[in-house]
Amino acid sequence: MEIALQDVGQAYGERWLFRHITAQFRPGTITAVTGPNGSGKSTLLRICARLAAPVEGKVTVTEGERPLVKADYRERLALVTPELRFYPCLTAWENMSFLLGLRGQELSPACYSELLSRVGLQEARLRGVLAGSLSTGQRQRLKLAVLLASEAQGWLLDEPGANLDASGRALVMGEARKHAERGGLVLWATNDEREEAAANACIDLGRSEAGL
């Protein structure tokens, strides 16, 4: 799967957030999206996910020669962003099995507890707890668990280290690296220099805006 941005620009009202972004994201690479707060990192990620349409320019996604559209593309994506929320009235297990179930993936209890321990959560402490009363750190780790379980090829991560301690951030970095090595595609919006350094390529939105 390959995502290509061609001269993409996004505006809110009269104000351009960014313009003339041309880039290609290939499997096996981690691309960092950097820039100061408000420079449009999250927006660019949403555009790449085709959850929003850019004001100008085009986003094309292809696999081999075949263009991927609509459900075919979305099924290959997984997101970790601050805007992603779990259903507050469902437990962690219910949330996870619901979201994965929509993708046609059966989540076994064994697999579930293994995933939780991989992201540093204890299954026993989550049992019977509604997602609405989890701590922000726990929720962030749960998002990572869904990401890992999703088997999606494209990972769009928006500040995935937010609300995590040092070990959590190291976990994210390690998993992203592993995913890229397996041939996955990672887009990573970040302000952290170490995370930026771990990426293969970088799009700096702060700079592109300065060029207007």
Binding site: Y12, A52, A53, V55
Partner: protein, 216 residues
């Protein structure tokens, strides 16, 4: 410019024909003049709805904002025409049958159309905060979804209200024994109204997506 002149000439011609050539119809007298305003305006109200659905389909497949603006401009114009059609229809109804409103099939149809136009415009203004692509998409979907009422309006409403109001009143107006001069005038008036609609539709889109001005 040439187009505008042609439309003005046509309008003058139609007005002349309506007031000087058309004989009073039996049973209706000179009230029949109102029909030459009412029928074309009602026709355009329906046409504008069809056009907006057409541009809605085109928008959803092409995603060009111009198509969305055409669809919306058509609705805005259609809203004006449907208001005029409703008012002139009510007046005509009062003058000929003694009541402003009696829910006969065509009145029902035009009223549903009025509701749809109003709903579309409300939706559009409520979405002014959203980004333009999303607004365009949502509006196109609504235009098409409301278009699903068309078979109902055409096939079922006449039956439904036939049973409640046994006298098929309005049909008589359209099918009075037409003299050639009346038929010609009516056709010219229909053409004129259609041209006025198309003129404002494309002009409004070229300049700004603003509402069309009244023009008679």
């Amino acid at each position: 410019m040439l187009l505008r002149a042609a439309i003005v000439l046509l309008t003058i011609g139609v007005l002349f024909a309506v007031f000087c050539l058309v004989p009073p119809a039996e049973g209706l007298g000179y009230y029949v003049r109102l029909a030459f305003f009412h029928i074309p305006v009602a026709w355009v109200a329906v046409l504008a709805f069809l056009m907006s659905a057409y541009y809605g389909v085109r928008y959803l497949s092409k995603q060009e904002l111009l198509l969305d603006r055409l669809s919306a401009a058509s609705i805005r114009l259609g809203f004006i025409f449907v208001l005029l059609a409703t008012l002139s229809g009510a007046l005509f109804s009062k003058l000929t049958w003694g009541a402003y409103w009696n829910w006969d099939p065509r009145q029902t149809t035009i009223f549903v159309l009025l509701l749809i136009y109003g709903a579309y415009l409300t939706l559009r203004s409520a979405l002014s905060g959203a980004d333009r692509a999303r607004r365009a998409r949502v509006c196109a979907v609504y235009a098409l979804f409301s278009f699903l009422t068309v078979p109902f309006l055409v096939f079922i409403v006449p039956r439904l209200y036939f049973s409640l109001h046994p006298q098929p009143v309005l049909n008589a107006a359209g099918h009075i024994d037409m003299e050639p001069v009346m038929l010609a005038t009516l056709l010219a008036a229909l053409l004129d109204a259609t041209c006025i609609y198309l003129y404002f539709l494309y002009r409004g889109v070229k300049e700004l997506p603003a509402g069309g001005k009244r023009h008679e």
